[in-house]
């Protein structure tokens, strides 16, 4: 619990881990070098950056040369989708089956984060590529039959997230990779693993994907940090031109402190992961079961066995989540409803729409997301405060 408040929005952002804070301190004070120079100050920064990259690479199961450090999950997704697209078309023009058979196809799950949805939409607008969205099943998992139907040899890039950010549902990445490899052999497969890192073995889970995005602040690293991992010989064309840093794949002076902080947070997250998952799953169960016992008309989205421990998405019949968020905030509880847009308004959930839920049901969706910092007291507070708020809004 943060002071007198209970924070249930770890999927939006998580508090900085002390390990990350400690690791970054020297780089906010004495260590200021630009890693690209040829002197002592630069070499020290270079070593810190390379160490951080080694650590991230190892934890994601790739080599250090296969990590592109970015300004966050959104940039990693954009680089994967738009930069990955450019690379796959450039390296494989001879087998371009799109020639004479319509434009090449980019395909993503309808439940993707906006970072992927909008990157795909921008790509389609810019290049004339055909964009296909894959619907979700009623449990919030990508519909594999629909995916198979949509995958044809014209598909050149597929993006399906590892864990959905609103529901916490774990997606069948290996099955997706198998369908893509079989039906669209020329396609590169990207997965946005931003929500998976705190809870799952991302290296193993995404081993069959070509491109994997992560975001530092979702697991206790600093905001403004992220990475794209490249596997199976996949490459990307740069989206930011300049001095050719990150092996020419992402120009700009590296965020040394950020990389160090993200690596430290990732290392701590991975080393404690089994214990964290067990503890948070227990808290989640107590929260979910306790609320279900106290509030009538609650529907938990997605099968608990197919979800990460930290995300609990509830549909509260007859209650507008936008109002519920305000009252819970006043009661000292931070939760979220749907995805917040740049103006701060709650947007109707495209994730719930992808499951075929009607707009009114979608408006009743609320997300509790737990993390390392969540305590039993937080859960107690929610169990005490949520039922009267729901009651009040139903009257």
């Amino acid at each position: 619990m943060t002071g007198s408040r209970a924070y249930f929005d770890h999927a939006a952002t998580s508090p900085l881990r002390p390990e990350a804070f400690e690791a970054m301190l020297p780089f906010w004070t004495g260590e200021f070098g630009n890693p690209s120079g040829a002197h002592v100050e630069s070499r020290r920064a270079r070593i810190a950056l390379d160490d951080a990259r080694d650590q991230v690479a190892e934890l994601l199961g790739v080599g250090p040369g296969d990590i592109v450090l970015t300004s966050g999950g959104t940039e990693a997704d954009d680089l994967a989708v738009q930069g990955g697209w450019e690379a796959v078309l450039a390296t494989d023009p001879a087998t371009d089956p799109g020639a004479g058979a319509g434009p090449p196809v980019v395909l993503c799950a309808a439940m993707e984060h906006h970072a992927v949805l909008e990157a795909c939409a921008a790509l389609a607008r810019r290049t004339g590529a055909e964009l296909r969205h894959i619907a979700s099943d009623a449990d919030g998992r990508v519909d594999l039959d629909a995916l198979a139907d949509a995958c044809d040899p014209g598909v050149r890039l597929v993006s399906v997230m590892t864990v959905n950010n609103e529901l916490g549902t774990i997606q069948p990445i290996d099955a997706v990779a198998e369908v893509v490899a079989r039906r669209s052999p020329g396609a590169v497969f990207h997965t946005d693993a931003v929500q998976a890192v705190p809870w799952l073995d991302v290296a193993a889970l995404t081993a069959t994907a070509h491109l994997v995005s992560i975001s530092g602040h979702k697991f206790g690293g600093p905001k403004g940090t992220g990475a794209l991992a490249l596997r199976h010989g996949a490459t990307v064309r740069p989206r930011i031109a300049g001095g050719g840093q990150e092996r020419g794949r992402r120009s700009g002076t590296p965020n040394v402190a950020g990389a160090v902080g993200m690596a430290a947070a990732l290392a701590a997250t991975v080393s404690e992961r089994d214990a964290t998952v067990a503890r948070v799953a227990g808290l989640r169960d107590r929260l979910a079961d306790g609320l279900a016992a106290r509030v009538a008309g609650l529907v938990e989205s997605g099968d608990r066995a197919d979800r990460v421990a930290g995300i609990l998405h509830l549909r509260v019949a007859g209650v507008e989540a936008e109002a519920m968020v305000v009252l819970l905030d006043e009661a000292g509880i931070a939760v979220s409803a749907g995805a917040a847009c740049s103006s701060g308004a709650v947007e109707p959930s495209h994730v719930l729409a992808s499951m075929g839920l009607d707009p009114e049901t979608s408006r009743s969706g609320i997300r509790f997301s737990l993390g390392v910092a969540t305590t039993e007291d937080d859960v107690d507070r929610a169990l005490e405060q949520v039922p009267p708020v729901v009651e009040r809004l139903r009257n």
Binding site: E320, E322, A323, V326, L327, C341, S342, S343, G344, A345, V346, E347, P348, P359, R392, L393
Partner: protein, 378 residues
Amino acid sequence: MSTVPWSRFPRWSNACETRNVRVLVAMSGGVDSSVAASLLVDRLGTEQVVGATLKLWGGESDSGCCSVADVDDARRVADQLGIVHHVFNFAEDFETHVVEPYVSGHAAGRTPNPCIECNRHLKFDRLLDRATALGFDAVATGHHARSEQAPDGRWRLLRGADPAKDQSYVLAMLGQHQLARSVFPVGDGTKDEVRAEAARRGLRTAAKPDSQDVCFIRSDVGRAGFLGDRVPLHPGRLVDDATGADLGPVDAVELVTVGQRRGMGHGTDGRRRFVTAVDVPTRRVRVGPPEAALAGGVDLHTVTWVDDAPPVGLAADGVVALAQCSAHGRPVACTARTDGDGMTVSFDVPQRRIAPGQTVALYDTNHPDRVLGSGVVR
């Protein structure tokens, strides 16, 4: 110090002085609602006032409650005042109750007033309900209008103190239920006074221009472009009302408004022509000389009364009143009578025809600042 006689402000909270009221102030990001919020904080303190900006429109627009820049202005004013600020997404309701009827109205040859429908369905219905659910006693807006409680407890709606900026016309559909839970903090000041007050308080919206036109239509696209994207627009013919003679083509009958003069040219008598009727199905726009553009009365539907019930005598002899037929129109003497489920308004002196879909607001002849009710032209 303030040059504004704020001692008159707000009658509403004088009436509620003993209560620890909580107010949700609708902040559009403009100067009026910024000052409204600021005045409420003076009176009630930061704990009792919360700001809310409505996200009403998902498409592109210049301004008006919808753009990120306006939300930022509202949020930064709230930050400056030290109050909590929320953004509520009412875009679906706005589409259903304002945009769609605006489009279908034009497609049928009517000219709806979207600001009035937004007030009716969004600000004083959806937002009021949301405010109640969240435990607020009232919603405040930056409208230039005043409300007061009569000795018998009933609420009155009055014109704003600034005749040039009075917005009682666009609030004329409010009833007791809404007025009892609404407050208009800037209605006692003039626009200049409000701007001066905003400047004195250092509010970033002090010099922001007034919003213009329809908030969801971008100026570079215009009404024709907006409607043309949503419904087919049909070319038609101008027809002389008296003789039936064909007077030439018109680009889109859906964009012509009854009473319109611009673009209708002159008759053979050299006098200007006015639109008297728009018939979309036959693609005909009927025009006539100035006297044909006048009407002795108008039929209204969706009739509302501030008092909730019609004035005594409406069904029998009719009620003498003042009718205002546009946002800044001159009030004219009339007699209102019940007509089936609607109302007929007979003008003492014939008036320029009012387009179907427009609103007529009625004011009290003996108290010309006092709103009686409203109706929408058939």
